[in-house]
Subunit: 117 residues, 2 copies
DNA sequence: TAAACATATGAACAACTGTTCATATATTAA
DNA sequence: TTAATATATGAACAGTTGTTCATATGTTTA
């Protein structure tokens, strides 16, 4: 990258103070990991299902018509980012949406998309 | 994928009606495109900057310390999904956050991440 | 008009991701 | 204990993405 010499709109002081309000890199990276997890049709569908009712892996598998492995990998991704949580119930592993942040996130995006169609 | 024969928790009727409430593929695909756009450190930082104040490309370029090309490509992605909008102002192209959905989306994610640290 | 500034875009390559396959582990029922 | 069910995980490959480089286009000023 080379430093451009002039841009009449740029005020270095302002730029600096604006950058200070941007969350630091660690936070940004964790945020992008979350969005990256939501960028998959399968994982999004999983969340829309769990939004209605907590479910075990084999229920999700039947609903989504993908392999058990794919569901399980998807759930792991979501779990690691604390977007979903787990509970053991006998031989079943029951997954559910972590909290209202996740619900709102999805709803905002859905509304945004539905607004223009 | 092979069809697993038994899963005591699965009730085919219920599964079916749950799937009916999952947005259809076109919507899901558009949602994942949005999340995919948010899954980039650079684009996220752009949004955090625009969240404070509308800015032109060269301001963003200075703030982020990446090439003008990278900023421009990033903005195009965000623009195509209507996450940011544009306005001409003389020789400057001024970008700004599209609407409150986008703001809320980012805020929910930030809160979620900050909650556990 | 020409020169300078501001932005956009195509190509290309390295890096990353999602799925499946194969297999391992865990739990329950017989 | 063994068989059946339920879930998890590593490897690997095809497909996708973000950045830079080079260049084109658009706008203003001199």
């Amino acid at each position: 990258m080379f430093m451009r010499k002039k841009c009449r709109r740029v005020n270095p002081e302002n730029i600096k103070s604006l950058m200070e309000k941007v969350p630091d890199s660690e936070i940004i990276t964790r945020m992008s990991a979350i969005f990256q997890a939501l960028q998959s049709d399968t994982r999004l569908k999983i969340l829309f299902l769990l939004k209605q009712k907590e479910m075990c892996v084999c229920e999700l598998e039947q609903a989504l018509e993908v392999t058990q492995s794919a569901v399980s990998h998807g759930l792991r991704t979501l779990r690691q980012l604390d977007l979903v949580r787990v509970r053991r119930e006998g031989k079943f592993t029951v997954y559910y949406i972590a909290d209202y942040h996740v619900r709102t996130l999805i709803e905002m995006c859905l509304e945004h998309v539905e607004e223009k169609s």
